[in-house]
């Protein structure tokens, strides 16, 4: 279970997120909606300990406060993230990072995972080096599949992805989020999205709307999505869906 208690995030001295509270039980997928610049990426990175954010409040992973742990400590506890924009790392190939990540996290069926995300032809390339938008997203999800985390954080998996690849990405997400049968292995996921396409695959349990650094709405993800489509995000500032 992932829980955020009164989380406030500052980046370079500026408050980007205020008093965020949320609970994602195991086996549930929650989605985060919000306009550009509202702080979605900052929130996801802060949960992972990335982006040089100063965090106040508690980030609880199965009850343990991880807010002061380093990024790699969080990863080893079972947190994983697929970034909206990942840096190019020409010094290491996709193959190498998959191999090392797989060794760390004891992954099997590597070939099959690579195949399922159609990344075979990218293996020898420098990681993210000149990857197209869709290739980047597929490789991020592949790395997450190999990492096999308990808490999955995914930032805009569908942006810049064509309709054929949405299917590939959607299926991978489905697999990532819902596969384990035993409850103790079930994952908690937080996915940022702007479109309905990916929602069809996610079967999300709950949604949040983030506007100017605050969660303004929470509720059924489809209802939230409809609401935003009709009235825009500003409507969420005073919307009634919130329980």
């Amino acid at each position: 279970m992932l829980q955020l208690r009164d989380v406030t995030v500052k980046v370079e001295g500026e408050v980007i997120l205020k008093n965020i509270n949320l609970v994602i039980p195991r086996g549930e997928t929650h989605i985060l909606l919000g306009p550009n610049g509202s702080g979605k990426t900052t929130l996801l990175k802060a949960i992972m300990g990335m982006g040089g954010a100063e965090v106040e409040g508690e980030i609880l992973l199965d009850g343990q406060n991880i807010a002061d742990l380093s990024v790699d400590e969080r990863a080893r506890l079972g947190m994983g993230i697929a970034l909206q924009k990942s840096p190019a790392v020409p010094e290491i190939s996709l193959q190498e990072i998959l191999q090392i990540t797989g060794e760390k996290h004891g992954t099997d069926e590597m070939e099959e995972k690579i195949e399922s995300l159609n990344c075979g032809y990218l293996l020898e390339r420098g990681l993210n080096e000149n990857f197209s938008g869709g290739e980047m997203k597929r490789s991020e999800l592949l790395q997450l599949l190999v990492q096999d985390p308990k808490v999955v954080l995914v930032d805009e998996p569908e942006s810049g992805v064509d309709l054929d690849n949405i299917v590939i990405i959607g299926e991978a997400l489905k697999r990532l989020l819902k596969s384990p049968r035993e409850i103790e292995k079930k994952r908690a996921a937080l996915v940022i999205t702007h479109t309905g396409h990916i929602m069809d695959y996610l079967n999300a349990d709950r949604g949040y709307v983030l506007v100017r650094g605050s969660i303004t709405c929470a509720g059924n993800p489809r209802d939230l999505f409809e609401e935003v489509n009709q009235n825009g995000f500003e409507g969420c500032l005073e919307c009634q869906i919130t329980e």
């Binding site: 982006g51 990024v71 790699d72 990863a75 790392v89 020409p90 010094e91």
Partner: protein, 417 residues
């Protein structure tokens, strides 16, 4: 060359050298050569296996295989003494390896090559090699010979405070093909001394030579290398250079002249500046012939208080030539310094196509954080980036050296973090 001609050439060279003894080098810090001493004379060896264990280990780190497995021939020089020069039976008639004094005796024509690609009065170091030099190797790959195993050589210094001054000539005859792996190193006890090396290469028509040099020196060691390469028609010269150990100072700026049409050259350089090393390295490729191609790729890492200067110059004198220069440096400490100085010169060849890329910077924090999010700890993340960065500097490294490089890189990037 006639005996008379040789005597005349000798005395001319010596005169020029004497006049250049105080001439400072164009680059690098100035060394005082007056206090240098020669080494004790050593007896020739029957087999490299008879070398002391510690010497065998030191030479191994410089790429030398003392069991001579998978090698076509070997040359070993300890201090001033050429103690071993041998061609494996299977390669008799394909390659000749001897110490330079013997070669000059045996082949009067060699005097025509002697000091033809490096001027004897270039500076005090070339002068010192001419006046006080001892040894160096002569390697000749005979016309049309294709060596499927590399030739190896090791120049080792085993006496503290001594100086080694060698003059090497490498002749790749027409249509030949070979690899040379050469290591310059010191035994573990030696921390101080100097090495002055002059090397002249002649790559004849259609020949292909890959020359890989590994430098393994010590903290108080100074090295000055002077190298000239002449490449004829359709011939290729590939130079790999690796420096992975601390040294006090090294300065080298080899010059490769692509004289023949369609000749090619590539320089790969991997250097690791550490402690207080002062490294001033680079290469000059002169593209004189039609359709010549040149490439120079350098990767440098600097840590501790090291200072690294990466030079590179491409000089085009003919149309229809293409060359590229790439210098990339990574800094791992606040105290280290790095400079990249790429130069492109075009002289009367408006169609020449020269380009360069230079980048110097730290290991990207964003990248390290990204790798950490996959479960790498910080040290592993930095080490992966550093290793990948350095490895990209050498492509097509002789197999024998690949493992050595990988080992050194992994231990060195552990030290680096």
């Amino acid at each position: 060359m006639s005996n008379h001609g040789i005597e005349e050439k000798k005395s001319k060279l010596q005169n020029k050298a004497r006049q250049a003894l105080d001439k400072k080098a164009a680059y690098g810090s100035d060394l005082d050569l007056s206090s240098e001493v020669s080494t004790v004379e050593e007896a020739p060896l029957e087999s490299l296996k008879n070398l002391d264990r510690r010497i065998r280990e030191a030479s191994l780190l410089a790429g030398m295989n003392t069991a001579e497995k998978e090698r076509s021939g070997s040359y070993f020089q300890k201090g001033d003494s050429a103690i071993y020069a041998r061609v494996q039976d299977a390669y008799e008639g394909k390659v000749e390896i001897m110490c330079i004094e013997d070669a000059l005796q045996e082949y009067p024509w060699l005097w025509d090559y002697w000091w033809s690609m490096v001027p004897v009065d270039m500076d005090k170091y070339t002068a010192a090699v001419e006046l006080w030099g001892k040894g160096g190797y002569f390697m000749r790959i005979l016309p049309g010979a294709r060596l499927d195993q590399p030739i190896q050589s090791c120049l080792l210094l085993d006496e503290a405070g001594a100086s080694q001054r060698v003059h090497n000539i490498i002749l790749a005859e027409e249509g030949s093909e070979a690899q040379i792996i050469t290591g310059c190193t010191v035994s573990p006890e030696v921390k101080q001394g100097s090495h002055l090396g002059v090397s002249e290469f002649f790559i004849k028509k259609g020949a292909h030579l890959t020359f890989t040099m590994v430098h393994n020196w010590a903290e108080d060691f100074d090295v000055r290398a002077r190298t000239g390469v002449k490449v004829e028609e359709d011939a290729t010269f590939v130079n790999n250079y690796l420096l992975l150990k601390p040294v006090r100072s090294i300065q080298a700026y080899p010059r490769c002249v692509l004289e023949g049409d369609r000749s090619r050259s590539r320089f790969n350089t991997i250097v690791y500046g550490q402690e207080n090393s002062e490294l001033d390295l680079g290469s000059v490729i002169e593209l004189n012939g039609q359709g010549t191609r040149g490439e120079s790729i350098s990767r440098a890492l600097s840590t501790d208080g090291s200072r690294v200067m990466m030079r590179g110059r491409l000089k085009a004198r003919s149309n229809d030539v293409q060359a590229h220069l790439e210098c990339r440096g990574m800094l791992l400490s606040k105290e280290s310094e790095m400079n990249a100085v790429p130069e492109l010169w075009v002289e009367g060849a408006p169609q020449a196509d020269l380009s360069h890329e230079a980048a110097v910077g730290p290991v990207s924090e964003e990248v390290v954080e990204y790798l950490m999010s996959r479960g790498f700890n910080k040290d592993e993340a930095v080490s992966v980036v550093v290793q990948g960065f350095m490895q990209a500097g050498i492509q097509g490294l002789p197999e024998a050296l690949e493992n050595l490089l990988r080992q050194t890189l992994s231990s060195m990037s552990e030290e680096a973090v």
